[in-house]
């Protein structure tokens, strides 16, 4: 069962024994991952193609695309994450029951992609929610998405009941960002306040940018 070409993560190397319980537990979880039916942009069309007859996601036990986050295990963020959409994405993530996984499909969800420089685009969904697998490509072909889902299954395979976070008391929900003059991540509130106060003093907002670009290594 073990994969030769994958590194063993540190939390696993401490547990020398992969118990039978873990094996059964992980097998059952990874064999019926239900994705959320949640399309954002171009990649969603390829996601539909994966669910359709040629690639047939059902072969992996993932055919049940659920529009409701309450019944979903994995969220495929398929497309550009815009600032206007981020509050909803975070809310959907919070509504998913644990254990929950996130796959960033395509360049846009991974790191902003071709639209990264745009004023309304978030540079990667991992700025707000934790991502398990990143699939680059614009858009990833259906095979690439299937490969990414297999990587996710491998990741689940290596988890252990002892170390998984979802049996602890506290939930790791993420505060829903606020649409202010720009998207406001509440976890970074103090930092943003500090920086904008500094900017008000210095009046050198753009100049600072200029000096930084012309620097050479």
């Amino acid at each position: 069962m073990a994969d030769e070409y994958l590194e063993v993560p540190p939390e696993l190397s401490r547990n020398v024994f992969l118990t039978t319980l873990d094996t059964v537990y992980n097998w059952s979880r990874r064999s019926s991952l239900w994705p959320m039916m949640f399309g954002l942009a171009c990649c969603a069309i390829e996601m539909i193609a994966v669910a359709a007859s040629r690639y047939d996601l059902a072969r992996f036990g993932m055919e049940v695309m659920r529009p409701s986050p309450r019944q979903a295990d994995v969220m495929i963020v398929s497309g550009t994450v815009t600032k206007k959409m981020v509050p909803q994405i975070v809310r959907l993530y919070n509504q998913m029951p644990q254990p929950r996984y996130v796959v960033a499909m395509g360049a846009c969800a991974t790191g902003g992609g071709p639209f990264k420089e745009g004023y309304n685009v978030v540079s990667g969904v991992d700025k707000f929610i934790p991502v398990d697998v990143y699939i680059p490509g614009c858009p990833p072909t259906p095979e690439a998405l299937l490969y990414g889902m297999m990587r996710l299954q491998e990741k689940i395979k290596r988890q252990s009941v002892k170390t998984v976070p979802w049996y602890r008391k506290e939930r790791d929900d993420i505060p829903v960002p606020v649409l202010g003059p720009d998207i406001l991540d509440l976890r970074r509130k103090e930092e943003i306040k500090k920086i904008s106060a500094q900017l008000a003093d210095s009046e050198k907002y753009l100049e600072r940018l200029e000096t930084k670009t012309t620097q050479k290594a």
Binding site: Y55, G112, V133, G137, C138, E143, R151, K155
Partner: protein, 220 residues
């Protein structure tokens, strides 16, 4: 008649269902054989339309593009890239980063020192491969590149990007043959030109020598 339309629909779906079963029975030993093979779907395909990835794979067309790769000459081990920067200039997302190599005096050398492609931005448009004048940057067919960590795993450096020309020849047989032909012609043309030039030079030298001789003779 009420219900005719629904019956029509049901017969269509039933036919499709039946076709899948017939197709399945017809292909039974080969379909579920667990040796990896590449298939090309025929246009008459009826019944089961599924490609059983990862056991089966679609035949990718030669022009298929996913992310870029850099070629080095398999014989000499030298990079083809001359750090001319055209790929970085035409890249719509500006995801290519090149450091040109320089000698001690600051004179640029036709080699790249560092070469990065941020594939978390790359849109796979293929302009870099299309406009590269040295056939050095090409589009890779490998789509199995999902990772667990984004930064810096998805910033491919030169070590991640380089592949030998033999790999390219395998992926792009037609383009490779065409390029080889063009290169061969270029070489021939160059050789011919050099030969002509050498002949010209020799003739010139001869003429000059003759002239000199004549002058010498005249001087005497």
């Amino acid at each position: 008649m009420v219900g005719k339309g629904i019956l029509r629909g049901l017969t269509t779906t039933a036919r499709h269902l039946l076709e899948t079963y017939l197709d399945d029975v017809k292909k039974i030993p080969s379909r579920y054989a667990y040796d990896r093979h590449f298939i090309k779907q025929p246009l008459e395909e009826k019944g089961i339309f599924t490609i059983q990835y990862p056991e089966e794979r679609r035949v990718l067309p030669e022009r298929f593009r996913y992310v870029p790769m850099l070629l080095y000459d398999a014989d000499t081990g030298e990079d083809r890239c001359t750090a001319c920067g055209i790929c970085a200039k035409v890249c719509p997302t500006q995801c290519i980063w090149i450091v040109r190599e320089e000698d001690k005096t600051g004179k640029p050398l036709p080699r790249s020192q560092e070469f990065y492609i941020d594939i978390s931005i790359c849109m796979g448009c293929g302009f870099c491969a299309e406009f590269c004048p040295f056939d050095s940057i090409k589009m890779n067919h490998d789509y199995e590149i999902a990772v667990y960590n984004r930064y810096p795993d998805l910033v491919l450096s030169k070590d991640d990007l380089v592949v030998p020309t033999t790999y390219y020849a395998q992926l792009y047989p037609e383009a490779w043959a065409a390029e080889e032909r063009a290169r061969e012609e270029e070489r021939k043309r160059k050789a011919a030109r050099e030969k002509a030039l050498a002949a010209k030079r020799a003739a010139k030298a001869k003429a000059a020598a003759k002239k000199k001789d004549e002058q010498k003779d005249a001087g005497k």
